[in-house]
Symmetry: none
Subunit: 411 residues, 2 copies
């Protein structure tokens, strides 16, 4: 029976370059992954440039592409997507930022960009939302906690522009930077002024907050500064269901991926213990995806840990986590009526600890696909597959065609 549902499993940063610690293999090549290999053997494989050959994707632009939304048309910066992911209801035109709680010393220099990786900022965030007042500028705002030391800010009001620099010096030991408009448009000047004022008022509230008094008493760095970055204006996204005729859910720990899902109208399904690290609750996420497929025709499931290990340069840990992922996939092997797609969103070579443009492996598995000869899921073997080399933007059209939801062009 033709598949009628799509499970898009994105293994974040899964692909790599040859690693010395692994005898010149990639973590994916070195890993024992019987489930992924079976999916590859039964499916049709290929390699994919999530944006285009040689273009190093961010997680935001790559996920937009994988969902069939051309980032060149709809990407307006990371801030508004992070803000959506943190739970702020972003309307077109609002200006979004991602941010960190940080520690500033008495000398006016940033001592810790993550405020000792503070875990819970709910009280601090609430105090800032209550206490800061930007009405003098005609600006209202929403400030929300993210995971750990992270947070998101959204500004609304007339005449606000998105073109402002960050106050994050990016290195400890330096003073925070000034927010500056990058154009001479009054809208951008106004946003820079609002950010400056917001951070100034927030600092006063944080400095004297009981949470920080307790942190100081315990010898922990206080969360007494906000660093904001990724400014962008919220754009308009055609809803997924209107575009494709099917509705969907997103399961992800990374707020950015949650935000992208929400931007296109996917419902976020939280999973207990999903952390985005190599310690995440993999079985819980897989089970949630299987459950969602009973009521939705599309599920985006993002597993982040391999990307984290790569950013830390840990090839062995990455290989181990890939093997853990593989064991968790058993419930997906016999999904009914479902097209299962497994791919990366970008490569993150441990050798460079950053995203790279190397293509990612991709497999499409389910009724109707043209099984090829590839029986191994890795960066090299998949290049021999029946899909050839495709673009991220082609993935949703191909998948929709396989579940017979594609429109005919012509007669």
């Amino acid at each position: 029976m033709t598949a009628s549902k799509i499970l898009l499993l994105v293994l974040d940063g899964i692909s790599d370059r040859p690693c010395r610690e692994l005898g010149g293999l990639t973590p994916l090549q070195a890993a024992e992954i019987p489930c992924l290999d079976r999916i590859a053997a039964e499916g049709v494989c290929g390699i994919m440039d999530t944006i285009a050959p040689g273009i190093r994707p961010g997680s935001d632009t790559s996920h937009l592409s994988l969902l069939g939304y051309d980032p060149r048309q709809c990407y307006t910066g990371r801030g508004p997507l992070e803000a959506l992911g943190c739970g702020i209801r972003m309307e077109p035109g609002m200006i979004g930022f991602r941010g960190n709680f940080a520690t500033i010393g008495e000398d006016g220099r940033v001592r810790d960009r993550r405020a000792g990786r503070i875990q819970n900022t709910a009280e601090l965030t609430a105090a800032i939302q209550r206490g800061v007042d930007l009405s003098r500028l005609g600006v209202t705002f929403h400030f929300c906690p993210g995971a750990g030391h992270r947070a998101a800010l959204a500004l609304s009001g007339s005449g606000l522009g998105p073109n402002v620099t960050s106050n994050d010096p990016k290195k400890e030991g330096l003073p925070p930077l000034e927010f500056r408009p990058t154009t001479d448009r009054p809208e951008d000047m106004k946003t820079a002024e609002a950010c400056t004022e917001f951070v100034r008022q927030a600092a006063r509230i944080l400095e004297s907050h009981p949470v920080n008094r307790q942190r100081r008493a315990r010898g922990e760095p206080p969360a007494n500064l906000l660093l904001l970055r990724g400014a962008g204006v919220m754009g308009h996204f055609e809803p997924f269901e209107a575009r494709y005729g099917i509705s969907g859910s997103v399961i992800a720990a990374a707020t950015l991926v949650v935000g992208i899902g929400r931007a296109v109208g996917l419902e976020h399904i939280p999973v207990e213990g999903a952390t985005g690290s190599t310690k995440t609750n993999l079985n819980g996420k897989i089970a949630a995806a299987v459950r969602e497929l009973e009521r939705r025709r599309f599920v985006l499931l993002n597993i982040k840990g391999a990307d984290e290990a790569s950013h830390d340069g840990k090839a062995l840990e990455k290989k181990g986590f890939i093997e853990r992922i593989d064991r968790s996939l058993i419930p997906l092997l016999d999904l009914e009526e479902t097209l299962l797609i497994v791919c990366g969103d970008h490569s993150t070579p441990c050798s460079i600890r950053e995203h790279s443009a190397d293509p990612v492996p991709v497999v499409i598995h389910g009724e109707g696909v043209r099984t090829d000869r590839v029986d191994r899921f890795d960066e090299v073997t998949c290049a021999y597959g029946g899909l050839g080399r495709i673009r991220g933007l082609s993935l949703m059209p191909i998948a929709l065609d396989l579940i017979n939801m594609a429109q005919k062009y012509g007669a």
Copy 2:
């Protein structure tokens, strides 16, 4: 010696998805096709998205692409191309329709959308051409018979638009629909009025025509209603010879393909017994193509039957017809000075009885091509070929380069 001619053999709807009746193989994979396999072994193979990955092509948009004409720029609906195929001389600006002779009952409902698959409508068509008068609207028209119950209509006159709905209810037992403009532009309103008037006057002529009296007497459904659809304005097509420097012919039973060929200035070569079905005169078509190559440098040869079997969901019949095609290709194996290209125009999986976006196999055979390791012509094996995965629009440029008719870009 470098080839100087191109034979483009389009096996309509040849490619498929795995078929249960064939043990999970596609009809092409299951078929014994020694000629096609030899062409693949000697040629360079690949897979091709005739439009783009995931885009489900119509036969019109795919053939335009294969001829190197971007349908996104030149496709204006199927009607004008069908009208050309039926022999109407379409000038830019004329409005074309495809149509059916149908049977309407005394209760005003469509009883048979194909009027009992009436075979010859020449007399009825001539009576309508003589008898209908649209001069009150300032409109002239050409009405021509197509194959079997089919026909085509072209309207000309100033101020006619192409945006009108069809009167075809698509299901028997329903009354015919009204022609309606889909915009509020006066041009489209005028076309809707002309269609309504044309069908009304034609019905009066058909009702009392001796051919229908005889059909009624024999207990056959009368052809007493016209259903029109596929409205489009005839566009401008740069002539093939002006664009490529070589002239060509088209050999096809499908009026649509004949019309596309004529739109770009290919000469249509009729072949006795060419029906577009699995019973077609294959040897006659191949012989005609070989003859044409003696006086032309380009021939488009379309063989339609596999697509018909697919639309009927008949995988075994499709496999059998593919084997019949293969036997007919023997005269093509030793063509001199000719680049032979064999490909599909789109996939038509028997499992869905409709076109799909799955890529089609393609092989280019002749002096100068880089023979790869592929020695089997099917959807999966060709993916391993030296062409990789290409687009339909790239095919003519590649072929022209191989016959040394490509222009250098740069110096």
